[in-house]
């Protein structure tokens, strides 16, 4: 455990790959689901395109409920579902499922905020030329909100990278897990700070990409 080369090769590298894997797919799925939720929330809200009190309330409660669960408890609670969907309850793929479930209400909330920030005038203009609600959402609100959503996605990616460290408890490796188990719990500062350093570089990269995109798109 104290041979840095070995540690890097057999612990850190696979963990990096796993982290990237989980973060990537976690982001993809939670953004898709979260965006869907956000759209429904925005559309059915009182001042939305097609207000629908009960749908809104129900979703609102659902989102809040999911956000209330500590990660590991949620993960265990939904194990039957995870198993049904992913075939197993441990490992990277299995951890992906609760990761997405935990992230998507968060994504929903931030996207909701972004969509709500679109100037009402533009939505009106779109209504006036006969755009359907779907078109207003995808062609107007989404396009207008995209720079802000870039920042949000950056936030989400980093959050998922963060939560993926908790997924280690479920046998999904990942850098956070390595930092925790091989570093922190094993009192191995080299691994701990080494891993954290990789995390910093990763986060920095993600953030830079996010900022770049924001500046391109805004």
């Amino acid at each position: 455990m104290n041979d840095p080369a070995l540690v890097i090769k057999s612990v850190m590298m696979p963990a990096l790959v796993e982290s990237l894997y989980m973060t990537f797919w976690g982001t993809v799925f939670s953004c898709i689901l979260g965006f869907g939720l956000a759209v429904i929330l925005v559309v059915t809200a009182e001042d939305g395109l097609s207000p629908h009190k009960w749908v809104y309330r129900l979703l609102n409660v659902l989102v809040n409920t999911l956000r209330s669960f500590p990660f590991i408890i949620l993960a265990v609670t939904i194990i039957p579902i995870t198993r049904a969907v992913m075939g197993t309850s441990i490992g990277t793929n299995a951890a992906l499922f609760p990761l997405v479930i935990v992230a998507c209400p968060f994504v929903a909330r931030v996207f909701e905020g972004n969509l709500k920030a679109v100037t009402p005038g533009m939505i009106e203009a779109a209504k006036a030329f006969g755009a359907s609600n779907m078109q207003i959402i995808f062609k107007i609100m989404l396009k207008e909100a995209i720079p802000a959503m870039c920042i949000s996605v950056t936030l989400v990616v980093i959050s998922i990278l963060g939560s993926s460290s908790m997924a280690g408890a479920l046998g999904a490796g990942g850098l956070g897990n390595v930092a925790l188990i091989y570093g922190y719990q094993s009192f191995n500062d080299l691994i701990m700070y080494g891993t954290v350093f990789i995390l910093v570089v990763l986060v920095q990269t993600i953030q830079s990409i996010g900022n770049l995109l924001y500046n391109k798109l805004k």
Partner: protein, 257 residues
């Protein structure tokens, strides 16, 4: 373990060739890795992973994602089976029996613990229970009788009005300066750069014997050849050496109860 011809055939035939085994932490993983070569020579392929959460780990055995794990002791496995309607069994005796110690940077002897001092104990239920029993054995507490797993709610008498602070067992060495004493495993002290032998006290074998770490498998695999081979490999000399190297002589209760 002598590798008989019969064993090999079984391993190839009806038994699974690939054995997926989850360790509870890196130390256990290392232990398994140490015997991996020997075990695989018997015709298996051993896949080792680390799963920290014992419930997830046990669930994985139940669902068939794992064949075995190396994470828990018997008491825990029993309550797991009860609560989760599990059918896990130990393949054999526990592999090793780590003991707990009371460590302190402030006092030099158990007797120096005085009124109102703050003691750190592990927060996870198993280790917390063990720590409480340890402190009872040291004569500092009196616990209710007939409880399987103790929490602070079952303390009947706290002679010195010790303040028991529940924290992550791994963080006790780090925050020892802020505590008057802490109850934790010597392994943690060792890895944190302290002398594991410097404990004010180790918990008595009669408590320790309940906390031996065992290899758990699903009931149906109880008598499988691979399980026996694994148990055997783990109990071998080599494993023992590593254990001793890790814990130090006095930090492990003798391996036979």
């Amino acid at each position: 373990g002598s590798d008989s011809k019969e064993n090999k055939e079984e391993a190839k035939g009806e038994e699974k060739k690939t054995i997926r085994l989850a360790a509870g932490d890196p130390m256990k993983e290392e232990l398994i890795n140490a015997i991996k070569g020997d075990f695989e020579k018997k015709g298996y392929k051993l896949e080792v992973s680390v799963i920290e959460d014992p419930i997830a780990s046990n669930n994985a055995i139940e669902e068939g994602s794992l064949e075995a794990n190396f994470i828990q002791h018997n008491a825990y496995m029993t309550s797991y089976n009860e609560e989760h309607k599990g059918d896990l069994v130990a393949v054999g005796d526990a592999i090793y029996y780590p003991c707990m110690g009371v460590y302190s940077n402030k006092v030099k002897d158990m007797k120096d613990l005085t009124e109102g001092m703050e003691i750190g104990i592990p927060r996870d239920p198993t280790n917390r229970s063990r720590a409480l029993r340890f402190l009872e054995a040291e004569g500092l507490l009196k616990l209710k009788e007939g409880v399987e797993e103790y929490s602070q709610l079952e303390i009947e008498e706290n002679k010195l009005n010790l303040k028991l602070t529940e924290v992550d067992s791994e963080s006790i060495p780090t925050i020892l300066d802020d505590l008057d004493a802490g109850v934790c495993y010597p392994i943690a002290m060792k890895e944190a750069g302290f002398d594991p032998e410097s404990a004010l006290a180790f918990d008595p074998p009669e408590i320790g014997k309940e906390y031996g770490i065992l290899i758990a498998v699903s009931e149906k695999n109880k008598d499988a050849q691979w399980a026996k081979d694994l148990q055997e490999a783990m109990s071998e000399e080599k494993a023992n050496e590593i254990i001793m190297e890790y814990f130090g002589e006095s930090a492990v209760h003798v391996s036979e109860y």
